[in-house]
Amino acid sequence: MNRSILSRKEFIRNSAWALAGATLIPGMLFADEREEHAGLNSLNVNNTGKSFTLKNVRLETGFDYEDGDVVATKTGIFSVEIANGKIKKVSTGQPHADAIDVKGMLMLPSFRDMHIHLDKTFYGDKWQAVRRRTGGVKGMIALEQEILPEMLKNSTYKAEKLIELLQSKGTSFARSHVNIEPTSKLDSLRHLQKALDNKKKGFGAELVAFPQHGVFYTNTAPYLKEAAQAGVDFIGGVDPFTVDGAIEKTMDFTIQLALDHHKGIDIHLHETGESGLKTVEYLISKVNENPVLKGKTYLSHCFVLGKLDQAKQEEMAEKLGAAQIGINSTIPFGGLIMPIPMLMKHQVKVMTGNDSIVDHWNTFGTGSVLYKANMAAQLYGHNTEFGLSRMLGLATAGPLPLDDKGQQQWPKAGDAADFVLVDASCSAEAVSRLSPVKSLIYQGTVVF
């Protein structure tokens, strides 16, 4: 709220940009001068569903170039008016007297976790590590049949805690898989729907009916048909060859179900050998036969792409791009590295998610997709201002403030008011330094 401090900060930042790339800036200790922004809640914003204006909002406005390379991101200070869940106006003019001062925080599109299992977690419960197990995926199915009845007892509560964790990391939307199998029947879905309903003012989701125990390996097909009419958005799947023993039969069922109910498709594919590749190729051919599935069909994990030689990778990337089939990746590292930059080059929509936060599959999830973007930047060497700024798209599942040429494309009047306020000077900094998210706004509602 103190204009003089803000303008001093502005001066410092501007002189920094003027020198950036040329040499270092002497004599400045910047971090401590930054005025703390404690979140909008502390400022008594009570505007749920109504209109309000934020002032001193930092927006990215372009790139600075040197010898043709992007060396810095230009930003400006704006007022942003929010009404009826949308951004009504972005302006540089004198703000309303009652505008809320966000003190130069950077506004970015809010984050989206596009592969997570909100229905099936230990989060909010007692710590337990992953156990050494035998029997592969079928052993895990047997384990789930044993533990799910207990896990379901408080799954609504745990899903709500998990949603709160995601919100705290700047995420206001998730694509959540939800177990559909003879053990849970539709309970996992219903429990999650209840949690989402309780959280709907600050969090949105799209749901994938996920036959974790196979479509036919356990008799899940009838439950999937039921789920397809019970508020899901996608028909899911998992390793048709390994679990059900036949690629075509399972895929045909899945595709038909999606077509019949106007749903998308999002299939877990961990298989890395011939069956993995065949599954990808079969799905591509089916989507090309049924163009209505283009743009709403996804393969999650799709590890087989990481195992192919480069020529085959290029070929598959092209085909996936042409069929508008997206890839959802947790961005694995170590043993297997996904060809994400190559997929992006061929216009394949690549999205990321935490998958497991803490459950019987994996206990490493942080809940932050900004962290995923950071890991991707490190893994693929996208460490320049431009490279880092593009990686933000993994955290937002698409939207970026600047296009590749540095033209401002977000936020625009009429855009949904889904955004975060971050303690960073630009998206490249936010990705590299995992800058703290100070506020989350979802459909015009202040979450914090």
Partner: protein, 425 residues
């Protein structure tokens, strides 16, 4: 990155109650299923842990640790505290491709400016690390013809300012080569200082183009001044391997170097066939030469499990925390241990609990059989309190640090202090 401040420390003698210690593993047919913990009281006096006794939740005058888990102090074993851009306005990595020699030229250009504020920035970087519970670092400091010994002097001022809450061992690091720039005389000068614990180095082949000449100089300097050695080695191929072998041979010949000679990075080990790796690992173990790694996780993955299996002491560190070499480091050693566990597939209760050693400079509360081995009466009072039920959880969930004791001085996070101290004062 959130900044988290600590309240002024509790000093002198004190008793902590409701402190959670690991006391064993609960086993089933698959191995350690859970970690057993119990609450204790711990008395600290004259810098040491003087008593560990059954918890008494109503003990008058005791500080309430509220069930937080006590772990050995966190140490960052490879960092450059003297050379960071942390706290300066954001500046991404340059899009220009720079060779190591280009980087030396670039450093010669920016160091004079960096030195003007390096004391303050080192202090802020230490604050960041302390926020994550780190209270000890092995830090390299530049010794080069541009910095002279000023990078050391500034760093020492920063460390003096943190006395009682943070300590470091210092490596005299000829970043611009010993001979490529005429840094050898400066290095000799630094080697005579008590504050310097290690003689450093970097790519004897890649920079000085003469492995033996550089290593002979380094080893002699270490022997003459009774120091350890810790050299950066990014060189691959036969030159990289030759550097490691030559150094191991020097340590085998000079037992005083054993246990305090390290190769940092040692990327060449990631490219060796397994029989060759085994041979080198055995040699390193025999010479007691350790490997320090920032744990790369992309195309190059260090053979940490194989090295450890052969008894090589593998340590971990942040290396760059937001500097002109890399803008990524977080300064959080629990996160580093988490990355290690994730990368090498160490996911079970037992494996996660073992991974803690990368954050604690090899100190673990339980031995491999689940016997309690830390803390013991007479151990120095160096510990952290984390919000976790066991070390496996702390690693996997990157649990937050609530307090730490360094040289027995107990620092609580500001937000925790009042609840912990209550009627203590």
């Amino acid at each position: 990155m959130e900044k988290t401040k600590y309240a002024p420390p509790v000093t002198g003698s004190y008793i902590l109650k409701n402190i959670r210690l690991e006391t064993g593993f609960i086993m089933d047919e698959t191995g350690a299923k859970e970690t057993r913990t119990e609450l204790f009281c711990i008395e600290v006096s004259e810098g040491k842990i003087t008593k560990i006794f059954t918890n008494n939740a109503s003990l008058p005058g005791a500080i309430d640790a509220k069930g937080y888990l006590m772990l050995p102090a966190f140490s960052d074993m490879h960092v450059h505290l003297d050379k960071t851009l942390y706290s300066l306005p954001w500046q991404a990595h340059s899009p220009k491709k720079r060779s190591i020699l280009d980087m030396i030229a670039y450093e010669q250009e920016i160091i004079p400016e960096l030195l003007k504020t390096s004391t303050e920035r080192a202090g802020l970087l230490i604050d960041l690390m302390q926020g994550y519970g780190t209270t000890f670092a092995r830090t390299h400091f530049n010794v080069d013809t541009t910095s002279g010994l000023r990078s050391l002097e500034n760093l020492q001022k920063a460390l003096d300012n943190k006395k009682g809450s943070f300590s470091a061992e210092l490596v005299a690091f000829p970043q611009h080569g010993c001979f490529y720039t005429d840094s050898a005389p400066l290095l000799k000068e630094a080697a005579q200082l008590d504050s310097v614990a290690f003689i450093g180095g970097v790519d004897p082949f890649g920079i000085d183009r003469n492995i033996e000449k550089v290593l002979d100089f380094t080893v002699e300097l270490a022997l003459d001044n009774n120091k350890g050695i810790d050299i950066h080695l990014h060189d691959g191929g036969k030159e990289g391997l030759c550097t490691i072998e030559y150094l191991a041979e020097q340590a085998l010949k000079n037992p005083s170097l054993q246990g305090r000679t390290y190769v940092s990075h040692a990327f060449v080990l990631a490219s060796l066939p397994s029989n060759e790796l085994e041979r080198i690992a055995e040699k390193l173990a025999a010479a007691k030469v350790g490997i320090v790694s920032s744990i790369p996780f992309g195309k190059l993955v260090m053979p940490v499990p194989a090295l450890a299996k052969h008894g090589v002491n593998v340590l971990a560190g942040s290396d760059n925390i937001q500097d002109h070499w890399s803008t990524f480091g977080t300064g959080n050693m629990l996160q580093k241990a988490n990355l290690i566990a994730d990368l090498y597939g160490w996911r079970t209760e037992f494996d996660l609990s073992r991974t803690l050693r990368f954050a604690t400079h090899n100190v673990l509360p339980l031995d491999n059989e689940g016997n309690m081995q830390w803390p013991k009466v007479n151990d120095s009072a160096e510990f952290v309190l984390v919000d976790a039920s066991c070390s496996a959880e702390a690693i996997s969930r990157i649990s937050p640090t609530m307090a730490f004791a360094h040289q027995a001085r107990l620092h609580w996070k500001e937000a925790e202090r009042d609840a912990a101290l209550g009627k203590f004062e």
